[in-house]
């Protein structure tokens, strides 16, 4: 069956450090992968999309990598700030249609 796995344990890091979050998937052959941010009680907000033929994508302090051989994406936030504290979700399309399936998300806490 199809699975999208993210580390369910919260990631606590110090301000200024780089946060790295992992998304692994099985039984998908996605043409692209997306990352979203979700704050408590709010809807997910789109951050970045990376295509299968792109190894890396950057946007300001964010960087995403996509390895279709390992079936893994890494999401990095450099120079992290307390305002980056949130849950980060990866999402894949698959199975036809425009449906996106989300991973369980990883909660990031950036401490002063």
């Amino acid at each position: 069956s199809q699975k999208i796995e993210q580390n369910s344990e919260a990631l606590n890091i110090q301000e200024g450090k780089t946060a790295t979050l992992t998304c692994n998937y099985t039984n998908y052959s996605p043409a692209y992968l997306q990352w979203y941010r979700q704050d408590p009680g709010r809807g997910p907000v789109f951050l970045l999309l990376i295509r299968e033929n792109e190894k890396e994508k950057r946007k300001e302090r964010l960087k995403v990598t996509f390895d279709t051989t390992l079936k893994q994406s890494l999401f990095h936030i450099t120079a992290s700030q307390p305002a980056d504290s949130a849950t980060y979700l990866c999402a894949l399309e698959g199975g036809g249609g425009n449906k996106l399936t989300f991973g369980t998300g990883t909660q990031l806490k950036v401490e002063l």
Partner: protein
Amino acid sequence: EPEVTQTPSHQVTQMGQEVILRCVPISNHLYFYWYRQILGQKVEFLVSFYNNEISEKSEIFDDQFSVERPDGSNFTLKIRSTKLEDSAMYFCASSPGTGGSPGANVLTFGAGSRLTVL
């Protein structure tokens, strides 16, 4: 910036009652979605809607649920005979859905409607 708006933000209902959650998607988007998030759990797909009909639905989306686009702007989710386990945050989303580019499938979510079934 265009946004997806949802009403009500919070609804409390008695078990067995019917609930309608309303959404106004982004005006030039073609695909509409409902997702559900039970407290502390993942965001789960319920249904997608395109060209005035359901394009895909999950196992969760059984006969208890229905969706409708009653006019040119609103998109509704009806839950009949609510159960305790229907208590969750319900998110509406829309996407451009035009062409074959990946950006066509980037979702914009609303703020959600929290449903509490007593």
